[in-house]
Symmetry: D2
């Protein structure tokens, strides 16, 4: 690529910081990012991109610039129900409403504000420098990443019927590493995650009459215990899986055996075969344990399904080369996959094209040195240092895009 990537000191960087501060101060909860979507669409329109809304609060901007490859770039847009405690001048005082009607504080506690600021800035820079590249770019501003609902919503709302199909899609995420560094995995990058809510149906009785009851707490406890065998005995010891029962709720009074109990399960896997086995086994155990209690079949509600986040190895290798060139060889770390989850992978899977996803550091060396451990994603104290973080994020984004559409034909 020959296009110069903007530096922190120039106008582009200052505008990016303004964008960031505004977005940080105005978080919206998953699948409710209406104002955010308006803000993004307005700016993309102003830049001259073709835009459309998709999946409710999703926004797509297509930037056509002559013959050349079509490339996708995704930024996620939602905040979290967290009360911000960063003490920043532009800290959020926004609130949102949960699905059950609860009014809660909102915060960009996972750094999606940095993703949007970088993507909008990259788009502007590429518009400003059309001469230096050729091809078509599809900017995907995806809502609802935190709940695993957004990518699916966009795909199901016809994303790929309306946008040109890219040959590859890139995405990135800020995390509490050193700004300027990139963590990237080849192959599987993040775990699949499936969450279910299980309602155990028993029969209510007074606490002194267990024989009149079907005790859903005893039954649920046996389910939780039995589920431990899935990871311990059913998954290949060299493969990874987690089955977490994150919540268990039943009963109102100590001397009443309740009619029902509810628990939620979060299942994480890297391998499709392992996922199938884990989900099948969990379902089988829940059904069988209910039978052991002569209880009705429990109700299972799927809460969310995060797909695999798989980095195409060939594309990853090329991207690592490009990033090593732009950020320095010592700044790029090839790492094993993480058990965390993302719905990014679904966008590319839907049309069978490769994708690559990486993490970029958010904290300056000074911040890292000043405390035992900097605040991580989802913490009320999560506050990346904008100067180095946004610059590095922008460099990584432009490097990835230009590695494909730069005038040198994609070579780093």
């Amino acid at each position: 690529m020959t296009l110069t990537i903007p530096q922190n000191t120039d106008v582009t960087a200052r505008k990016m910081h303004e964008l960031y501060r505004f977005l940080h101060a105005h978080p919206e909860l998953s699948m409710q990012e209406s104002a955010t979507a308006d803000f993004i669409a307005t700016r993309l329109d102003a830049l001259g991109l073709e835009t459309f809304r998709c999946g409710g609060t999703g926004v797509v901007g297509v930037l056509r610039n002559g013959a050349g490859p079509t490339i996708g770039f995704r930024a996620d847009t939602d905040g979290l129900p967290i009360a911000e405690e960063t003490g920043l001048a532009y800290a959020s005082v926004a609130r949102g409403t949960l699905a059950d009607g609860t009014d809660v504080p909102a915060m960009h506690g996972c750094g999606h504000d940095t993703h949007m600021a970088v993507a909008l800035t990259a788009a502007e820079h590429l518009v400003d420098n059309r001469a230096d590249w050729a091809g078509t770019l599809v900017f995907i501003f995806q809502p609802g990443e935190e709940t695993g609902a957004g990518a699916r919503a966009m795909v199901e709302d016809g994303l790929w019927d309306r946008a040109p199909h890219p040959e590859i899609i890139y995405g990135q995420h800020v995390w509490p590493g050193l700004a300027g560094t990139i963590d990237i995995s080849s192959g599987v990058a993040m775990a699949m995650a499936d969450s279910w809510k299980v309602t155990v149906h028993g029969r209510q009785a007074h606490g002194s009459q267990p024989d009149q009851s079907i005790d859903p707490i005893v039954l649920g406890a046996h389910m939780v215990v039995r589920l431990q065998t899935v990871v311990a005995r059913e998954v290949h010891p060299m493969k990874s899986a987690v089955v977490t029962v994150g919540t268990f709720h039943g009963g109102l009074k100590e001397n009443i055996i309740p009619a029902t109990a509810e628990f939620t399960i979060n299942m994480r896997t890297f391998d499709l075969g392992v996922r199938t086995r884990v989900l099948d086994s969990v379902r089988r155990i829940i059904a069988a344990e209910a039978q052991a209690s002569a209880a009705p079949e429990p109700t299972i509600e799927v809460l969310s399904t995060f797909p695999r986040c798989y980095n195409d190895p060939a594309a990853t290798e090329k991207l690592i080369a490009a990033l090593s060139h732009s950020l320095g060889e010592d700044a790029i770390f090839e790492v094993p996959p993480v058990m965390g989850s993302e719905d990014f992978g679904l966008l590319a899977e839907a049309i069978g094209v490769p994708s690559v996803y990486w993490m970029f550091g958010g904290y300056s060396q000074q911040s890292i040195d000043s405390v035992d451990s900097v605040a991580g994603n989802h913490s009320p104290h999560f506050a990346p240092d904008p100067e180095p973080a946004l610059a590095a994020g922008l460099t990584a984004a432009l490097t990835a895009i230009l590695s494909k559409v730069g005038t040198t034909g994609g070579a780093a």
Copy 2:
């Protein structure tokens, strides 16, 4: 006894019904029976009894009538946090406040209104007919029976430092049987009940990082499972015990392993040795299971302790004879003990005197025949038929008292 027990048709009965309807319409929650206590004390004072307050909202009335035995009679006074659905003209619309500040509806859903109406009426009748008996009567209007707190509160507040010590204490409870019948057990009458709240302390972590956590839901589930062995393997097969985990609550989100989980246990036994073994074993299992998880010692909070309700066999035999005389031999049923609980027994235990407790039926034959099953205690539909229920309750109460202080010297 020679004193005539009043009938439904006379003035005494009509006044008793008025008392009942007023009390039914004005329930107060356990240990908050202030207006009820005032109402009772006012009436006892008007009858000329020596009264004093005790245990917060408890009221004691002493009726002295010459030389003779001292006899105790207890009526409990508290309502329940239930929204009444009886449709009665005098149904409760009262509300109360739970310990945690929640505003809730209140209802005399366990029939303590009948107990008070009967006891007040018995006192008045005995005042009106002093010539027909001799001795001292101690009427104990006890608060907080539902929570097991009231009898203890009165004893600890010096009940027996202030009231003359009876040689026996009687108590009765309305239940959904045929009005006019009495169910009574010799020896153990009701179970001891101990309730605990257990807080399991774990270590919070993301759902994908079980190795960073001490999972309190998995730990709590193992506790619930392991507790089953107490009744199954540690209690003599021919003795009775129930260990019910009535509530289990932990976790807010499916992908977060929480820091704590809480459950409550209700333990019922008839035998002091069995109670000791059960409580010791439950405590031992909870501590050991925490150790198995390398978790801190769980916190155990005693929620309530219902003592044994033991009917002195000799006194019970005499009372059965007296009741057979006044209500008819066919109306008295000697029954095995029930797993339900009461704190009545504590009043007599505190001074080492015998006590006898019985159930009197609350429904007319017509009511019983009209539905598959009449509403039981603690149901929002619980509505004894006042005419036959109160009459029989009054007869039983007076029979018991007069069997001791009647002019014939206690013979039925």
Copy 3:
């Protein structure tokens, strides 16, 4: 009755002791009591009874003596695979062969030798004193009590097609109480007992490959744990049940997950409804837990079924009166049922007639005082004192029989 019951000092008693010592020295294992059966039949034939073999090694002797009631009396005949350690001059050195071919020592470790000696002596005494009674006696020498197989074998082999039907059947058992005393229950006397062998079918794999296995040890352990809920949560707290897993065997090597595991269950109940619930629930849990492991349905083999031992209350009341007369009022103890089991009850159940069963003490006061605790049934040291034990057993047997056929018409 007017017949004199023989005393220890006379010829009858001496002959009874000889019988006892011979039988004690020649025990045979359950359902293999061939020599014992020959010995009994020879003696009954010599006494002039009509005899027949039934159920393999069972012997029946019918003694007809004019018009009058028909009464059954049962004595069991089998020994146990125990190496006797009593040090008695007539201690057993016999051996037997178990079903699996193992050669084992044999001992009358449960006192069935006393039962036979008493029954044979009673028969002889009644033959010798025909003038003092009238009716028909059916002496049933039943094999295989220890395995629960003998009563069933006799009934299925046509016992009641060949013997006259008694109006009542009596039976008794020696136990380590004071000789001269009787323990007897009205109604249910002993528990029903059902024993099963469960074979859990898994899939073998190397210990490092749990995902290739269906682990029958993990599955069996979950079954054992889950079975605890049957007694803890499914049986009425005031009813009795025991579910014991007495054996669990699986695996040959620590690093091989075996193909199967086996365990045996012993289930005891007093109440037919409770028995049905327990057996159904155990079967349900075993099937469901196998499903939870995706394992094949386990194989359940019934090892033995001991029926209820129920003492007809009216007949028991009459017998207690008779025994109080012959042994003294202070010698008769009415006791609650015991969790132990017997197949005696099946004999009467098969023809719908009442039966009564009692325990007679086996030890002298001197023996009881000389040690902390005398040896109980099934101990290698079990050694009742023959003089007082046999005398009291004979008195009890004759008292029971003569209470029905004595010339005074059955009154004690």
Copy 4:
């Protein structure tokens, strides 16, 4: 290296096959390899090596050949208690005696005969061609690999006090892959394995008296169930561990609660930190569950401890280069570690030098094509094809040794 590696057709190969057939026909069980040791020592002595016995049935042969590196090469020598079913002309009919005195058949069912034949042939070839290399070779013929006892026994018997310390130790194992191919891992190559026998101490009682017992079967079952949480919740999801309970034995009769139960655990890990956590957690759970039953501390006996088998990455890289040269690049497969275990690693660990271990294929393409799946190690049918297997094993052994001591200075 310049030394020519012998081919199947020459004299060296024929002698190797004779050695192999003899050793195959004369297997001895672990730590009882006396005749095998004599056979090896005699041959090494004849070749002029300095030999000594070590660790009972271990043999060490030192071959000094001037200045140069010191290199170790290990072959294991023990057979297995398996009845050979290969049908080979030289199949074993040998027998051995287990630790408990049982007489069992013996078979070289894991291919240690090939290891010895190759090592002896390599020694002879290197003696015959002293001119082509320089340095010192330490041939370690190690007993007792199958039980994990042999390497420890040699080290504890002063192996490294008597033998010169090599700078690296090589070892190899035949497995059911294609002869001529090598499977090798860099870094961790095989799992650590720890096996324990746990004796659960309860209290015996009749099956009808659970309250008199401490039920070791119920307790042991809870231990097995609770142990599932170690892998499921305590090990990092991306690290590997297996906890297998391979055997569980308790009880003799369904109606007796036994005094004890025994189970064995096999624990496999790759990572020292994970091993520590797993072993600590298993020990903690066993102790805590016993406390939950008020049982005495269970007895834990260590059955075996297999160390980590770690291939030094730098040495492995060099060896792969050398093997690629001698066997062909396509014949060398770098593979992930396996959950199986070996005690080879202990030899080098004891003196802190690197080691490398690899698998060589044992079956010809023809054998592999002729069946669905060739017999694996520990199968009674395990029968590598000697011609290709021994040739490739010899080539690999000489390649490894000469890569260090060959005249070209160790370069492949």
